[in-house]
Amino acid sequence: MTPQTQFMILAPIMPAREAELRQLLASMNHAPGRVNPDNTLIPFAQFDTLHVARLLILDDQTTADVGVHGLPVPAYPLYFALLGDIDGNENAFLQELARRAAVGLSMLFSCCEGFTSTADLVAWMKRHRSPAIANYVNCRGRTLWQVREEAALRDALENYLTRHASALEKMPPREIHAQLAAFIKEETAISRLMLSAEEPTPLGWWIKDTLHLIGLPVLLLLALPLLIVAAPFYLLRLRQLEKTDPALYPSVDQAWSDALALGEDHDVTNQFSAMGSLKPGLLRLLTTLGVLLTVNYAARHLVRPGRLGRIRSIHFARWVFIGGAKPWALVKTARRAAFFSNYDGSVESYMDDFINKAGFGLNASFSNAIGYPRTNWLVLDGCADECKYKEYLRRHTLPTQVWYKAYPGLTAIDLERNTRIRCGLESASMSNEEISAWLALL
């Protein structure tokens, strides 16, 4: 299995160069929200391992919100971020990125602090890495190659079925399966179709993953006595904060909301980028860390392919602390977090999905941010205050200047269907029920 990894490069923008950077980013699009996959700065389409990528300016409109907690408004630099989700190793990808897009990257990064034209691109990017604290991949192991091969497989089947519809419509399921399997075998034999076998799992990755799988529960077990002692105090303080945290419900500016919408709904999938400040205090910080580490653990080891709880529309998602790669840096400096995702459908359905299907998780992770609708016991209420929640989310949403997805027109459900079709085709022993279910995918 080839595991998926994510990368993110984050650097402060030189204020004098912001306008230029915005122009460069705009030049990568055909129109707002419609990337040119062959643009000269980063020719995304040339990368065979890049699922999704985005470039954006983290123009957080809500930094002044800390004022409701009586805190001074920090003077954050304006950040530029380049992030994406890839197959395989981050190092290898960054090398390839630097090779294929050297000029473009230099132009973009030269708008950031501390970049010189003589700098080693890969080394500079590594110095500006901003790893995620929690990460979600819809289907671990499904590579971009696989996505493309299986999409081509479905297209080939669809064409074949159209050509032979009248005969096949009268055929029993098992015969259809046999005929299609034979057809695909022929197609692959003459290399008109490719259905590559899975690559072996990299050993280093497997060891790290297994250590992670075992390590966190072990640590948790060791810390259990302490956690049990701390729990009542924690809950008492949490309840107190939940009842007294200042409320903040400004509605989102219409122009801001319109600007966001202009970049959305060009593909069946959308990007989502949001950012906000954490509430002050150690409890909120620890809660955020605890929740996100749990989410990360669950997403990595527990969730079923294609599902984040009941939600089936997310391709990739991640939570990142902005301005402090190491969690301990948060105590002193950065107290801002960002969330990035790639989801199917419109933002309205995305928000509804979260409220109705995963409200508890949403509350646990987002309620530590300033201005989130009031929660109870960390997981209750909160986003169920629908209008306030939606205004909150839209207000924290960042315009994403450039967004690329390697397979426009395909939803996560499409990818799952194509994989299921392939698995069924390759399976020699299916029950009648399984064959019927498989046939219904076509």
Binding site: V268, R307, E348, Y407, A437
Partner: protein, 503 residues
């Protein structure tokens, strides 16, 4: 006399359309207007005979309703700070580029070609006239005198036709309508396991609890001399609630190519009449008489009224048709109202529920794909236009002067984005509804390519234990010819608006 409870609805304050379809008044006409003279417009509004939602005995023979677009409120002199309290969708309007894209109003449907409501022919308000045929002309005449002429530049009169409950393609329409929980008897629930037609009042009337048990955002004003008459907000008693007892009205003129529809299904059926009827019914999801394609279940659906026919035609969900073999997944009525609940299946224990919530439950391909329908209901109040063309006559080629026909689609909802727009975007116009691909609503779809999906003009008929049948090359049967988002105010709010610019 006992004081009425805070959340009891004052029907005298609600425009009647929320409670009645005025079906017995078979004549209706909608005046789409622009304001020429704001003072005169306010004067007309102050004396306009706007009908409320009180039951009358004998029933009235005339009714008049008024609703405003955001530019209309502005033209009347409503303060910008007040308008800012309305929803984004209402303020932005139906023709915003991104909304048009989401709603499928692109290519031939694009607002630039609209007969009304487009960028070149923006509308300020709609005045809706309903009456008995014999009373109609006198009623319109009496309501539109000199003040009217001074106030409004008449944009357009939309005429309607009484087709007796049948829409222009020839199918019984308006069968499934949500029933408003006027008395707010239903407790807000976090999870509902049963499909019901009874929907929280706040889904259709601003100022009351919606299905989330919350009040939808609307303009709340600080009390002043101009708004003393307005009711207080239930969730903020110190504020005056301009939205309370009002709602949003969505209007779209949908032109239906009845000939194209019937000629297409007949061609597909190779001229076989029975098969053509079956395909047409599969596309609609009901027979022409309005019967569901899935078996009637034992228990009636709560909130389907008292009429036995109405109860029977609503007595189903799609739970017993998980493969789409009886009613295709992509059928119009299955898209418009998937009749699902908040949760897949009914968990028998807390543990099973937890397993499903965490995504470890059944892993079927089509499990749990759709959003729960109770958050996405609309109250339909539209009327047909253009003279009737029977399906059997629709096979003949169109004469040169074939009149246009279709539906003046009207729906009421408290949250345009979550209700009307969601249904239109995620369920009707989506080429990915319910695990399908390459097809949009067979009736309403514009069938335009989307990036990566060159074909969206397919209709799939699922079958059990056999290969599905694909109907390809569906033409666009419905063209959007106009549309706008309106605010349908309460009578109190109407009086406030009618005084807005008078100092």
């Amino acid at each position: 006399m006992a004081r009425p409870a805070m959340n009891q609805v004052d029907y005298a304050d609600v425009q009647g359309l929320l409670r009645f379809g005025y079906k017995h008044m078979t004549q209706a006409r909608y005046a789409l207007l622009r304001i020429k003279n704001a003072a005169a417009a306010r004067a007309w509004l102050r004396t306009a005979p706007v009908s409320n939602a009180m039951l009358m005995n004998p029933p009235p023979t005339t009714a008049l309703q008024v609703a405003f677009t955001a530019p209309g409120l502005r033209a009347l002199g409503v303060a910008e700070s007040v308008i800012a309290g309305f929803s984004h969708a209402f303020r932005g309007g139906m023709t915003q580029e991104n909304r048009a894209r989401e709603l499928g109003d692109v290519a031939d449907n694009a607002p630039e070609y609209w007969h009304w409501g487009g960028p070149a022919n923006e509308v300020h308000l709609v005045v809706m006239f309903f009456a008995d045929p014999q009373a109609f002309d006198a009623f319109v005449q009496a309501s539109t005198g000199d003040v009217w002429n001074e106030a409004f530049a008449e944009a357009q009169w939309l005429h309607t036709e009484n087709l007796d409950g049948v829409e222009p393609f020839g199918f019984a329409d308006g069968i499934s309508q949500p029933q408003l929980d006027w008395e707010s008897q239903q407790q807000a629930a976090h999870i509902r396991y049963d499909y019901s037609n009874v929907v929280a009042l706040g889904e259709f009337l601003l100022g009351y609890c919606n299905e989330y048990g919350k009040l939808t955002d609307r303009p709340l004003l600080d009390p002043d001399a101009a708004n003393t008459d307005l009711l207080p907000a239930l969730d903020a008693p110190a504020k005056k609630d301009l939205g309370r007892n009002g709602t949003y009205l969505v209007m779209r003129q949908l032109e239906q190519d009845v000939r194209a529809f019937w000629q297409f299904v007949h061609r597909q059926a190779g001229g076989n009449e029975a098969e053509a009827q079956m395909l047409a019914a599969a596309m609609v999801g009901r027979t022409r008489a309005g019967d569901a394609l899935v078996p009637v279940q034992q228990q009636p659906i709560p909130g389907t009224g008292t009429n036995p026919e109405q109860i029977r035609q609503n007595q189903f969900t799609f739970d017993h048709d998980p493969s789409g073999a009886r009613c295709p997944f992509g059928a119009h009525v299955r898209r418009a109202n998937p009749r699902n609940t908040d949760f897949p299946g009914r968990p028998t224990s807390l543990l099973k529920k937890l397993i499903t919530v965490l995504g470890f439950g059944p892993q079927g391909f089509r499990d749990d794909l759709m959003s729960s329908v109770r958050f996405h209901r609309i109250l339909r109040r539209g009327r047909e236009y253009g003279c009737e063309l029977k399906p059997e006559d629709a096979l003949a080629p169109a004469p040169p002067d074939d009149p246009r026909r279709g539906l003046h689609f009207i729906c009421l909802n408290a949250n345009i984005a979550r209700q009307f727009e969601f249904i239109q975007n995620a369920w009707m116009a989506s080429s990915k509804f319910s695990g399908l691909t390459g097809e949009t609503d067979p009736l309403l779809g514009n069938h335009q390519p989307v990036p990566g999906c060159p074909v969206t003009s397919v209709f799939t008929v699922q079958r059990d234990n056999a290969l599905r049948q694909r109907v390809t090359g569906l033409p666009q049967f419905v063209m959007v010819r106009g549309g706008a988002y309106f605010f349908l105010p309460s009578l109190r709010a109407l009086r406030y608006i009618a005084r807005a610019g008078d100092q």
